[in-house]
């Protein structure tokens, strides 16, 4: 009863980012309803512009920094920063999907596409801000279920359906496992699923099989979204089958949200058993992720599948930040996510442009691309270098910074982990260079004719190129991540 009385609906105000996204969602929905079934060519620009405004708003409006609903939901500078970054990713995806959604068989559903996307984004926001497992689960499901619909968006392509079914089945399975894990966690708790309360309960020393199982299941559940090995197997097929826009969305935005959430959960509520337990689990998982991802990526010819495996190994690098498990680690992780978003989306922007203009997806089709499309080749090269971590492009800095923060903990084991990661960068460099080789070096005549990509994707490409080139050289983005994390360090009980 007193719960009801104490409920103060003004609390919702400090959920500003969520509100903004919901607002845009509603606007798009209404516009879609009342615009009649013309081509709705205004939808894309409208969504894009609104979205951009929303992003800016999230960025400039200072975070309330308070935790509401009894601490279930936290809105602090860190979450704000993450949301803004996710927004940028989503914005670029909108831009690069602009041409695809106007295809005659998709155009009637283009509003739905945007709506679904906004919903998933909303879910991710909740994930990031959640400080209670219930809210977390809700956010997770909100983020992952609509994605199934988005994956299945290509009605006429069989691959799309196959991808969707694989996705939904594994997703449900993993969420089921996650819930089982959470039920174990609940068994530990003092009857509350607040991260802070759990953190008080779960202290190092008092380990039990149940807790270990719980942690393992939670890792599995979130690892599914992050596509960590061995929870990654859906990734390749889904990425390949899904519409390219959705693939790029999956590969960056949902990953980013999941990574941050993972960090929050494991440093706050499982922080006590970091070095006892999950450090070593993640140690193994990260090594497996990076290595397996690389080993699979070597052989791939289909660009989307290739990017899928590359993103798997990238996820491993992202999770290195979680190994650091301190403010520096989180900041480096967020920065990595940001850089990874622009680099990966740069690559995907090129892929989708080429696909939507020529329908070509195989790496062999890229042979001699530079003869016909020098700018696309240039962008692709930069993106590949950035993903491979080559200076002076942003990827180099994100990698080095995350390595630095991991080694900062000073444990020899983590040095070895970094060494393994570094050696893996050689393999990754190999397959990224394969793309560069196809574009620049292969002597064959280009299979892809010269074409002029639409302005939307141009804009997307330009944003990505700018990001790739400048994010590393200008230091204030990393500074921004660090500041936001340190400002909200109180909110998440960081280790050391």
């Amino acid at each position: 009863m007193d719960f009801i009385q104490s409920t103060d609906y003004s609390q919702f105000v400090s959920m500003l980012p969520e509100l903004i996204v919901l607002g845009i969602f509603v606007i798009v929905l209404l516009a879609d309803l009342f615009a009649g079934d013309t081509k709705k060519s205004f939808l894309t620009p409208m969504t894009a512009v609104l979205f951009l405004l929303g992003t800016v708003a999230i960025w400039i409006v200072p975070a309330s920094g308070e935790s509401i609903f009894g601490g279930m939901y936290v809105n602090d500078t860190m979450t704000n920063a993450v949301k803004a970054i996710l927004n940028i990713g989503a914005f670029i995806v909108i831009l690069q999907s602009a041409k695809w959604v106007d295809r005659e068989d998709v155009v009637i559903r283009k509003a739905e596409f945007f709506e679904l996307m906004l919903v998933t984004l909303f879910g991710m926001y909740l994930m990031v801000s959640a400080r209670h497992f219930l809210l977390f689960i809700i956010g997770l499901e909100t983020a992952s279920l609509p994605l199934a619909a988005m994956v299945a968006f290509e009605k006429r392509h069989y691959e799309s359906h196959e991808a969707a079914i694989k996705y939904i089945l594994t997703a449900v399975f993993s969420s089921a496992i996650l819930m089982v894990g959470l039920s174990f966690v609940y068994a530990f708790s003092t009857g509350s699923l607040y991260f802070d309360d759990l953190a008080r309960v779960i202290q190092s020393g008092e380990m039990s099989g149940l807790l270990i199982a719980a942690i393992a299941f939670v890792i599995a559940g979130i690892g599914f979204k992050l596509s960590l090995v061995p929870f990654h197997l859906w990734t390749a097929d889904v990425y390949q089958g899904a519409p390219t826009a959705v693939t790029s969305y999956l590969s960056v935005v949902s990953k980013g949200a999941a990574a941050v959430t993972f960090f929050v959960i494991f440093t706050t509520c499982f922080g006590g058993v970091y070095s006892d337990c999950w450090e070593w689990m993640m140690y193994a998982v990260i090594i497996a992720t990076i290595t397996i991802g690389n080993l699979f990526a070597i052989r791939q010819k289909n660009m989307k599948r290739f990017m899928a495996f590359s993103s798997i190994s990238q996820a491993g690098y992202i999770m290195l930040g979680a190994m650091a498990a301190d403010g520096r680690g989180l900041a480096s992780m967020i920065f990595y996510i940001f850089v990874y978003i622009v680099s990966n989306l740069g690559a995907f922007a090129v892929i989708s442009t080429i696909e939507s203009s020529t329908g070509k997806l195989s790496m062999d089709d890229y042979n001699g691309l530079h003869k016909t499309n020098p700018w696309l080749s240039f962008t692709m090269t930069l993106a590949m270098f950035s993903l491979a971590g080559i200076p002076p492009f942003a990827g180099f800095f994100s990698k080095i910074l995350i390595f630095t923060s991991v080694t900062g903990t000073g444990s020899m084991a983590l040095y070895m982990l970094v060494l393994i990661a570094l050696i893996n960068t050689i393999i990754s460099l190999y397959y990224y260079l394969l793309v560069v080789k196809a574009i620049w070096i292969s002597p064959e005549e280009p299979k892809i004719g010269a074409f002029r990509s639409d302005n939307w994707s141009r804009l997307a490409l330009w944003i990505c190129v700018a990001g790739i080139v400048f994010f590393g050289i200008v230091p204030f983005i990393y500074q921004y991540c660090v500041d936001s994390v340190s400002a909200s360090a109180g909110m998440l009980g960081l280790l050391n």
Binding site: A331, P391, I400, T404, V418, L419, I426, L429, L433
Partner: protein
């Protein structure tokens, strides 16, 4: 920031890249104009720097580094863009400028995609310059990798032969080296500060703190030395060098063998030895064995090669092995010799590769069995090749002799048997070098003309002459008047030697 002269070494290439970006892909004139102006500016800049440096030293300014400047970059990790030069870096910058200058003219008629070629070429030189000017190991490493990656495209696109394989191999092996290097640098960074201090990337501060405890030093020394040693073509990590050089286009071989391989040696003493002196004293012997092997090994392998570029690649293995070998002797004279060897090897290998490129451009073969009597056909190139050869086999009056002698006499200061044995082994290389150099000269330039079609070939053009003369003048200059360079280098080694002595 821009009042610091050193920054311009990075800025000018960037400006050049922008300028090239504005050129049309076919606008050969404009591209050449940009390159000539830019590389000349760089050459002038480094000459000015050199004179200014000597002037300051002459005025008795004996800070360890001059023209220092430091600008905060990544505050949270205390990363600065810190620049500064001592005598060695100044000479290295001079060397780089000379070779960039010569390389520009050596690739006068490059095709296809001249614009992209020079873009990557400028990126490469940016990395090289940045590496030599920076005294912050983070930026140092960054520029190091900046210099590495363009090699892939430069070899892959504009190379010859099995270029894709070689380019990939070269890139991956060097990156493999830099993986270990990175680990070492991270270790150095986190242990750089005394207990409770803020860790730093700045070489001078690290050396001044000397807080890295020996147990860590050994590990880090191995990582960094191997990391740089790969680029220094240290046995057994040298196999990228023959293939890479053989397939690279002329200017790239020049820049790569001439300057890029020097990054290895430079890093070895600037980071591995200077910052980890205790480990250097303790573990030098391992690498002395390896480098000693690569000296003789490279020379012997060069004796039976038939491809001109392979011969020079293996002789580079031998000579760069000499550089690392001398660095590991840990005394002033030998290390000075190492630097002299870097300069001399840089110049003469650049000259070699330039000439090979020119000859190949005419005969369209690099197989010495298919050539002969070229001295008759193209006397200018022939004479230049002979001069390069004599420099390489250490003829007095040319740079090679000075370098090798300094190395031998310096290395001989270590009087225990182990060092003696390896020094004697190293000295044997002067004979083997003579063997393979004269073998090439005899087969390639002298004797009867093998291929009648070669009789129509022409001698060097004006830009080729310009490229070669520049290098030859430098080679002879060092060879005849070595002492001022020698003194400059010796002075710069004082702090490093003190660090080593202090760590015993």
């Amino acid at each position: 920031m821009f009042e610091n002269i050193l920054i311009w070494f990075v800025v000018i290439p960037v400006i050049m890249m922008i300028g090239l970006g504005l050129c049309r892909n076919s606008g050969m004139k404009a591209i050449r104009a940009v390159m000539v102006v830019g590389s000349t500016a760089l050459l002038a800049l480094s000459v000015v720097l050199c004179c200014d440096f000597l002037r300051l030293r002459g005025m008795g300014v004996d800070d360890e580094m001059l023209f220092t400047g430091s600008w905060l970059w990544y505050a949270p990790l205390n990363i600065h863009l810190a620049v500064g030069v001592d005598g060695i870096s100044v000479l290295m910058l001079l060397l780089s400028s000379v070779i960039v200058f010569a390389g520009t003219f050596a690739s006068w008629k490059i095709n296809p995609l001249p614009k992209n070629f020079f873009l990557w070429y400028c990126l490469l030189s940016t990395g090289v310059y940045g590496f030599f000017i920076s005294i912050d190991i983070f930026t140092m490493f960054m520029f190091y990798e900046v210099a590495l990656i363009p090699m892939y495209l430069l070899i892959g696109v504009w190379g010859t032969g099995r270029k894709e394989y070689s380019a990939m191999k070269l890139t991956l092996m060097l990156m493999g080296g830099s993986a270990f290097l990175m680990l070492g640098l991270l270790g150095i960074y986190w242990h750089s500060a005394p207990e409770g201090g803020v860790p730093t990337w700045n070489i001078l501060e690290i050396a001044h703190n000397s807080a890295i405890d020996p147990s860590w030093q050994n590990l880090l020394f191995c990582c960094t030395f191997v990391g740089f040693g790969v680029l220094g073509a240290m046995f057994p990590f040298h196999t990228w060098s023959p293939d890479g050089h053989a397939c690279a286009p002329t200017a790239v071989s020049m820049l790569h063998a001439g300057v890029l391989m020097k990054l290895g040696g430079y890093g070895c003493f600037r980071i591995a030895i200077y910052l980890l002196p205790a480990a250097a004293n303790e573990l030098a012997w391992i690498f002395i064995i390896l480098t000693g092997i690569s000296i003789v090994y490279g020379a012997f392998s060069a004796c039976v090669q038939t491809d001109l570029k392979y011969i020079n690649a293996y002789s580079s293995v031998s000579h760069c092995g000499m550089v690392l070998f001398a660095i590991l002797m840990l005394n002033t004279t030998a290390m000075t010799g190492a630097i002299l060897q870097m300069l001399s090897h840089g110049l003469m290998t650049a000259l070699f590769f330039a000439l090979i490129g020119m000859i190949y451009g005419r005969t369209h073969t690099r197989d010495i069995r298919q050539m002969g009597g070229l001295m008759k056909i193209m006397p200018y190139l022939g004479v230049c090749y002979m001069i390069a050869g004599f420099a390489s086999l250490g003829l007095p009056g040319l740079s090679g002799f000075v370098a090798e002698m300094t190395i031998f006499f310096g290395s001989f200061q270590n009087s225990d048997l182990f060092h003696r044995v390896f020094v004697i082994t190293a000295t044997c290389s002067i004979v083997i070098t003579a063997v393979y150099i004269l073998r090439v000269v005899g087969k390639l330039l002298l004797g009867p003309v093998q291929d009648k079609h070669h009789l129509e070939l022409t001698d060097a053009t004006w830009f080729e002459r310009l490229a070669t003369v520049t290098l030859i003048v430098c080679i002879a200059g060092i060879g005849c008047f070595p002492n001022w360079i020698n003194e400059t280098i010796q002075h710069s080694f004082v702090p490093i030697i003190n660090a080593i002595q202090g760590a015993i």
